[in-house]
């Protein structure tokens, strides 16, 4: 019998609120299935199971704030005898009681029920709305598909009520996200001896390739420059394994390249989920993966593997703005590639000065694991790849 526990969703996460179960006792699950949704400082995160078997019991209740490692469910692994499934979650575990969450004592809406008058809302938002006396039908949902999420309910609660209940966590709360970013970046600055290498690269081969590739394709199949830059970074990470991995009591290189993509959220905030196994993807697959990741990051619907298994992150400033960015490494990774906005500059080609679109890429690397020579190799491979995009 395996105990399914609240996973760590980053080095600075201490707890998360259980928002939704996507399985019932008796359901078969396969490694990698998303079985629950929790709300964290960085929004709602889908939690995957790491075992294959049968869910026998859901021990954690919706609405409970649970520390990392707290038991959530029991799973009988393959070949094990499956006891009679228990239909309802048991009494809240000790950790929940200690968290002083009034919401855990509220009746939980039955699955599939719409007590909010047909309003689509997350279960935790529903419970909270009842506790605060907020009518769900009066709210505009900001969750996936316009669903009302916890933050919407708390945003609508009278200010005095909200203050009385403070402090507590919310859905996509930008103040909480700011704290999470502050913690991760402070740790990076404290622990990682950064050094930087910069290189300015002519991107006219890449933009020319994109123009002809996209010309006769419908919008759904078009590529963005970002996909080529990401593919080039993946290629460089494959060529320089000393910079691709995680640092936990020493450096552990990763065979797979799970390339982190820094995604700015409209209204503020930043998340850097990883595109898992990007080394096995073609450029169109990377484009599709990036599109999916960005839309889910903005909807607040990422998976725990994407939040924790990144091996090297790319952060790009976009199409307009400053020409270079020396970034802060996202721990426990050991390198971050900052890409400035494209600029039109005089450039020497075949002994002549001509105007060219160029970008400046700046690699931040961890001096505990790498030296300048290794970082230089990464930059050389990156430049070679982005200069001949047909090879990507």
């Amino acid at each position: 019998m395996g105990v399914f526990r609240m996973p760590s969703l980053g080095s600075d996460m201490e707890s998360a609120t259980l928002d939704e179960w996507l399985v019932q006792p008796g359901d078969r699950v396969t490694r990698g299935d998303v079985i629950a949704v929790v709300e964290t400082q960085k929004g709602a995160i889908e939690i995957e199971v790491y075992e294959t078997g049968t869910v026998t019991e859901l021990t954690a209740q919706i609405g409970a704030e649970l520390p990392v490692g707290a038991p959530l469910a029991m799973i009988a692994v393959e070949g094990e005898e499956v006891p009679e499934p228990k239909a309802e979650p048991e009494q809240p575990a000790a950790v929940e009681a200690a968290a002083e969450q009034p919401v855990v004592e509220m009746p939980v809406a039955p699955a599939g029920g719409m007590p909010g008058g047909g309003v689509v809302a997350s279960p935790v938002a529903r419970v909270r709305a009842q506790a605060l006396g907020v009518d769900l039908a009066t709210l505009t949902g900001t969750g996936p598909g316009g669903a009302v999420v916890l933050a919407d309910v708390e945003g609508a609660a009278p200010a005095a009520e909200a203050q009385a209940k403070a402090p507590r966590r919310r859905g996509l709360d930008l103040n909480e996200m700011r704290k999470a970013i502050a913690n991760a970046m402070s740790r990076a600055n404290r622990e990682i001896p950064h050094f930087y290498l910069s290189q300015t690269v002519d991107i006219s081969p890449a933009t020319g390739f994109l123009a002809s590739y996209n010309a006769d394709r419908p919008p759904a199949e078009r590529l963005l420059l970002g996909a080529l830059l990401l593919r080039a970074a993946v290629g460089a990470a494959q060529a320089v394994p000393q910079l691709n991995g995680q640092y936990e009591d020493g450096f552990h290189p990763s065979k797979a390249v799970n390339i982190g993509v820094a995604v700015a959220l409209r209204g503020g905030g930043l998340v850097a989920p990883a595109l898992i196994d990007a080394d096995r993807m073609t450029v169109p697959q990377i484009m599709a993966g990036m599109r999916d990741l960005v839309s889910r990051a903005r909807a607040g619907r990422l998976r725990n593997s994407e939040m924790t298994q990144g091996t090297l992150t790319v952060s790009a400033l976009g199409e307009t703005g400053p020409e270079a960015m020396a970034g802060v490494i996202f721990p426990p990774q050991v390198a971050l590639l900052g890409i400035g906005a494209p600029q039109l500059r005089p450039w020497v080609v075949d002994a002549e000065v001509i105007p060219r679109q160029v970008i400046t890429v700046t690699l931040a690397a961890d001096h505990r694991v790498a030296d300048g020579r290794i970082a230089a190799k990464f930059m050389t491979v990156f430049e070679d790849l982005i200069s001949s995009p047909e090879r990507l």
């Binding site: 900001t142 123009a211 996209n214 010309a215 419908p218 919008p219 759904a220 078009r222 963005l224 420059l225 970002g226 700015a264 409209r266 209204g267 990036m290 599109r291 960005v294 839309s295 976009g318 199409e319 307009t320």
Partner: protein
């Protein structure tokens, strides 16, 4: 389609891409990137949604023609008329 129907379609797809925007406050000449802060991924998603909804395939070289609400209504109107003609 009337210009008003095109305007409604454009605004609806715009706020799907950028849910924090209030369609009532989007001005005729607000630039979707410089003023409304859409990035290249947002623009591509908008163009994809307009393709699905209106059947108009906007080539990359024409992206400047949908840079504002006012320009987009005019450009999309021409493209729809051309398609029907």
């Amino acid at each position: 389609m009337t210009p008003n129907e095109i305007r409604t379609a454009f605004l609806e797809e715009l706020v799907t891409v950028a849910p924090d925007l209030d369609p009532m406050t989007v001005g005729e000449s607000d630039h979707i990137q410089d003023d409304l802060e859409l990035d290249s991924m947002d623009v591509l998603n908008l163009v994809t949604a307009l393709h699905d909804r209106l059947g108009v395939n906007i080539p990359e070289v024409d992206y400047p023609h949908i840079a504002t609400l006012g320009q987009a209504v005019e450009y999309l109107g021409q493209m729809i008329a051309r398609k029907q003609g």
